[in-house]
C-alpha cells in the first residue's frame, strides 16, 4: 500500500486507465458467486472483487482501492472499507473534483 492512489469517480475512469485508484460509491448490485458488482459513483462503475477477501452488500457505501483495467473501465478491487450509511455522496463527488485541482497534496 505504499503507492499512492488517485481519487476518481465514474467520469474519471477513462483518463486513469491502468492506474491505482480510490473510489467512493454506493453498491447497486453485486453477484456473490462471480464477485462482480455495480457501484454508483457519479455514474456506474463495474467492480470485480476477490471473493475470498472482500464481500460487499447492496445499498451500502464503500471506499474501494483497486486498479482500472487497461482495455476496459472495470475496477479490480484489492481492498474495500465500508463507510457509514450517512456518508454524503455529493460531498464525496465534490472532493474528487477538488482533489484534481490541488495535485500537490495528493499525487
Amino acid at each position: 500500500m505504499e503507492a499512492s492512489q488517485i481519487r476518481v469517480d465514474a467520469t474519471l475512469l477513462g483518463s486513469n486507465q491502468g492506474k491505482l485508484v480510490r473510489l467512493i460509491g454506493k453498491v447497486k448490485s453485486f453477484n456473490p458467486s462471480t464477485g462482480v458488482g455495480t457501484v454508483d459513483s457519479n455514474g456506474d462503475v463495474t467492480v470485480i472483487l476477490n471473493l475470498s477477501e472482500n464481500s460487499i452488500q447492496i445499498d451500502h457505501i464503500y471506499e474501494f482501492i483497486g486498479k482500472i483495467g487497461t482495455s476496459d473501465l472495470d475496477v479490480t478491487v484489492y481492498s474495500s472499507v465500508e463507510f457509514s450509511e450517512n456518508t454524503n455522496l455529493e460531498v464525496a463527488q465534490k472532493l474528487v473534483s477538488f482533489v484534481h485541482k490541488v495535485p500537490e497534496l495528493y499525487y
Binding site: 500500500m1 505504499e2 457509514s84 450517512n86 460531498v91 500537490e104 497534496l105 499525487y107
Partner: protein, 252 residues
C-alpha cells in the same frame, strides 16, 4: 529588546515615531518567529514532502508551517516494540508511522490488541510532527476511530482549504467587492420575486425614504406593472412595506 534604552526619551515628553517604545516593526525582525501551535489538517503526502530549513526547525510545506498536524488514514500495520507500538497509517497519498508509548496504566499487549482491532479501518490522528534520523513520525498523538465517514471527506476538504489559504488563494476571488450578497448579480437563476426583494433589500439602507419602482425597473428586466404586482404581493407577505409614497418600498 535593545530598544528599552529608548524609554529614557519619555522623560523628555517625546513620543517621536522613531523611538517606538520597543514595539517598532524593526525590532521584531531579528527575533525568532514564535512556534505556531495550531492544528493543521494535512494529507500524509504533505507530511512526507515537508522539509526543515534548519535542523530541528519548523517543518514547511507549500508556504505552510507544520507543527501540530491532523490527518485521517487507514491502519495497515501494527508493530510491537520494546517501549510501545508503531502504527503504520496510509491515506492514499502516502504512509507514515505513529509511535505510541505505552503508558503506565495499560500493558503493551492491551495496546497491541486495541490497535489490531482497528486494522484496515479509518482512524483520525492528531499530534506533533517530529523527525528523527530523517524519519518523520507523529508524537504525542491522539488517535480515535472514525465512525462517521463524512469526517474523512471533510478532513480532506479542510486540508485543501488550509492549503489554498496558505497559497494566498482567497475564497470567492471572482466576486466583486460587495460579495456578501452572492445572489445579487446572478439574475438568471433567481425568481422575479426574489430579484425585486433583493434589490429593495440591498438599497433600503441607503434610501431611507424607500426604493423607487423606477430604480427597480432600471436594475431588473421586469416591466413596471410586473414590479408593482410583485411589490404588492411581497407587502402582503410582510416582506416589504411602503416607503414615503406609494411608488417606493422598503425592507426591514
Amino acid at each position: 529588546m535593545s530598544d528599552f534604552g529608548n524609554y529614557g526619551g519619555y522623560g523628555d515628553g517625546g513620543f517621536s515615531t522613531d523611538v517606538g517604545g520597543g514595539f517598532s516593526t524593526d525590532s521584531g525582525v531579528n527575533e525568532r518567529s514564535q512556534t505556531r501551535t495550531s492544528l493543521t489538517p494535512v494529507t500524509i503526502k504533505q507530511i512526507n514532502d515537508a522539509h526543515q530549513d534548519i535542523p530541528d526547525g519548523e517543518f514547511k510545506i507549500h508556504n505552510n508551517e507544520l507543527n501540530m498536524v491532523s490527518f485521517v488514514g487507514i491502519i495497515r500495520k501494527v508493530e510491537e516494540q520494546a517501549s510501545g507500538v508503531i502504527i503504520k497509517v496510509e491515506d492514499g497519498t502516502g504512509s507514515i508511522d505513529i509511535k505510541r508509548w505505552t503508558d503506565k496504566s495499560g500493558s503493551l499487549s492491551e495496546d497491541l490488541e486495541k490497535y489490531n482491532q482497528e486494522l484496515n479501518k479509518y482512524i483520525f490522528v492528531s499530534g506533533a510532527l517530529k523527525s528523527f534520523n530523517d524519519r518523520k513520525s507523529i508524537q504525542n498523538s491522539v488517535i480515535y476511530p472514525v465512525t462517521d465517514h463524512n469526517q474523512i471527506l471533510y478532513h480532506h476538504l479542510s486540508a485543501i482549504n488550509a492549503h489554498l489559504k496558505a497559497q494566498g488563494v482567497t475564497n470567492k476571488s471572482s466576486q466583486p467587492t460587495n460579495g456578501l450578497f452572492v445572489s445579487e448579480n446572478d439574475n438568471s437563476s433567481v425568481s422575479p420575486e426574489d430579484l425585486v426583494f433583493n434589490i429593495v433589500r440591498d438599497n433600503s439602507y441607503s434610501m431611507p425614504s424607500g426604493v423607487s419602482i423606477a430604480l427597480i425597473t432600471q436594475k431588473s428586466t421586469l416591466s413596471n406593472a410586473e414590479i408593482h404586482f410583485i411589490c404588492q404581493n411581497l407587502t402582503e407577505q410582510g416582506k416589504l412595506y411602503q416607503g414615503s409614497d406609494e411608488d417606493s418600498y422598503l425592507c426591514v
